[in-house]
């Protein structure tokens, strides 16, 4: 059975309507009208043990709200959710031992006290025995290279150090499920790499299942086997990275370096001109083809037959382009 099962999750928030016109500010105070905003609109998810799933979507898509329902903090307006067989919001304390969470924009550390104190308290809160606590803490501190700042107050730590602290805080009780809501936001490349390495390591050695929201393509490419993309509270895509590329940007790009000046009026069947740019002395042509229509080898042989090719590379669309495509499409949909 899947570890995380969500069916038709819906979460609505309602807030007072803001009045318009004369004395809007005062009238807003007394309005009894409310508007309902559907942050999550029928999301269904199945996550198997040991998966690392990227949960993507533009700002305000409903990612964090979904995660808050999975953690049991928010009660769904409708729909069902179970994590490890537990209904999170109904049985919070049993659920708490199953999950760990990092919300990159917040911290669960006691800011005024040394990092180590926060860990001590959390170990007690989660009932981690002294032996297990020492073992996990040593291991994590080693993995994340935290020895030098363990005794400093969390308030004085850099963002990268604090985030590592929060990651350890979420994992001390070794939960089978880890929710990461933008765990690398604002971090430098080294700090990001450390955090990714830690996540991968926990996934590999302890089989930790991870649901990760991020705006960092590197996180997705390096960690996730599978991505779920939502927007406006609805699932747009659920599948592996290859399928995502094939679905949204099926084309491949051929970059051709010409050995002679570009001939006039050339054309190649099923291969399209996408751009020309100069690179040092040479001229680079960007060509596109759809591997569903013409195979890569065929596209290359047609190209070399038509153009004076000195060098040639083929690449898949960058994940970033794919995501941009999806997010932009929604803007188009909204405007249109």
């Amino acid at each position: 059975m899947s570890l995380i099962v969500a069916d038709d999750l819906v979460k609505e928030f309602s807030r007072p309507v803001r009045a318009e016109g004369a004395f809007a500010g005062v009238r807003s105070l007394f309005t009894t009208k409310r508007v309902t905003n559907r942050a999550v609109d029928g999301v269904s998810l199945r996550i198997e043990p040991g998966e690392i799933v990227g949960y993507l979507g533009p700002n305000g898509a409903g990612k964090s709200t979904t995660i808050k329902m999975l953690t049991g903090v928010l009660v769904p307006t409708s729909g069902t959710v179970t994590v490890n067989g537990i209904v999170p919001w109904r049985d919070r304390s049993a659920n708490a031992r199953t999950i760990g969470a990092v919300f990159g924009q917040r911290t669960q550390l006691w800011l005024d006290l040394p990092l180590r104190d926060s860990f001590d308290v959390l170990a007690k809160l989660y009932g981690v025995g002294p032996f297990a606590y020492r073992r996990t803490l040593d291991e994590f501190v080693d993995l994340l290279d935290m020895g030098s700042f363990l005794d400093r107050p969390a308030r004085n730590l850099s963002l990268g150090q604090r985030m590592r602290g929060d990651l350890v805080a979420a994992m001390l009780h070794e939960p089978p499920v880890l929710y990461l809501d933008e765990p690398t936001v604002g971090l430098d490349v080294v700090a990001k790499a450390r955090i990714r390495e830690f996540i991968r390591e926990r996934n590999r050695t302890a089989g930790t299942t991870v649901l990760l929201t991020t705006h960092d393509i590197g996180d997705v490419e390096q960690l996730c086997d599978r991505v779920v993309i939502i927007d406006d509270g609805r699932t747009l895509f659920d599948g592996d990275l290859g399928a995502l590329r094939r679905t949204y940007l099926p084309h491949r790009t051929l970059t051709v370096e010409l050995s002679e000046p570009e001939p006039h009026g050339w054309s190649i069947d099923d291969v399209h001109h996408a751009g020309t740019r100069a690179h040092h002395e040479a001229t680079l042509l960007e060509l596109r083809f759809d591997p569903g229509v013409v195979s890569t080898s065929e596209a290359i042989s047609r190209t070399t037959a038509t153009l004076p090719v000195a060098d040639l590379t083929v690449r898949e669309p960058e994940l970033e382009e794919v995501i941009t495509e999806i997010y932009t499409a929604r803007e188009v949909r909204r405007v249109g």
Binding site: K68, L74, R92, S93, A101, Q108, D112, D117, L125
Partner: protein, 279 residues
């Protein structure tokens, strides 16, 4: 301290539950004491307040030895003790719950295997313990100046100590319930301000309830605020403590049960409408 719907204390042994609470309390205390300068400033300000009320009440009494049946030394002693109780039990910042709801960090409290009520009350108890040094230094000054009379009997001292403890529990419960309203309104600075003034007045920490008009005094005695500070202080100044003291203690215990139930209900409703601020 209060029954907590989310607390899995049942899964732990009693001893473990107690050790856990002690840890949370200590964490609350240390979070305050880490700011040493703030503690020293707090001590100085408490001493100043003791001296100020001393001067004010001496001026109020002038040459009189008694006003409305209250002896001069009792009124002055009461006012000084009232300042010290308020310093310990009615802090400027009642609970971190307010900030945690505003910033959305409360998400972590809700996610933990120990309920928010347990975490919040333990934290408040810790904060209160951290303000005890202020009260102790103030009390020492008051005793040195001879403005606070010692209790007459051992039984009165014990009753006073028990009543103070019960009063502290009631104060923490009231603070908690006000703090929980943040789940509805997000910003409760105003609520805290009103509550702070109401508590200071109604608990009798500013003016003894003895001096209030009869009708008002009766209303105030029927509210939980008076059980926070006025009850222990009135036991201290009772010239002839008898069985009525037991009644007072029972009343405080009753308030604790009622407030625990109220906090429990408010929290259950708050949970259903929780909104976590921020992305």
């Amino acid at each position: 301290m209060s029954a907590d719907p989310d607390d899995s204390a049942a899964a732990r042994t009693f001893g473990e539950g107690l050790a856990l609470r002690a840890t949370l309390v200590r964490q609350g205390t240390r979070s305050v004491l880490v700011f040493r300068t703030d503690l020293f400033v707090g001590i100085v300000s408490t001493l100043l307040r003791v001296v100020l009320v001393l001067l004010v009440w001496r001026a109020v009494y002038g040459d009189r030895t008694e006003v409305s049946g209250i002896a001069r030394e009792d009124a002055i002693g009461y006012a000084v003790l009232g300042v010290l109780f308020a310093a310990a039990m009615q802090p400027w910042q009642f609970s971190s719950l307010r900030d945690r709801v505003r910033t959305g960090n409360v998400v972590f409290d809700i996610m933990r295997p120990v309920g928010l009520i347990t975490q919040s009350t333990a934290d408040q108890l810790g904060t209160t313990l951290a303000s005890l040094p202020k009260a102790v230094v103030g009390l020492t000054l008051a005793l040195v100046l001879g403005v606070v009379p010692g209790p007459s009997t051992a039984w009165q001292t014990v009753a006073f100590a028990v009543s103070s403890l019960l009063g502290l529990v009631i104060a923490i419960q009231c603070n908690l319930i006000v703090g929980l309203t943040a789940f509805w309104t997000t910003e409760i600075g105003g609520a805290y301000l009103v509550y702070g003034m109401a508590a200071a007045f109604c608990s009798g920490s500013l003016i003894p309830l003895w001096l209030m008009p009869d009708g008002l005094a009766a209303v105030l005695r029927a509210l939980p605020f008076s059980a926070q500070i006025f009850t222990p202080l009135s036991i201290w100044f009772d010239r002839d403590p008898g069985w009525n003291v037991l009644g007072e203690l029972a009343l405080q215990a009753g308030w604790i049960v009622v407030l625990a139930l109220a906090a429990h209900l408010v929290w259950l409703r708050a949970l259903r409408r929780t909104v976590i601020n921020g992305g």
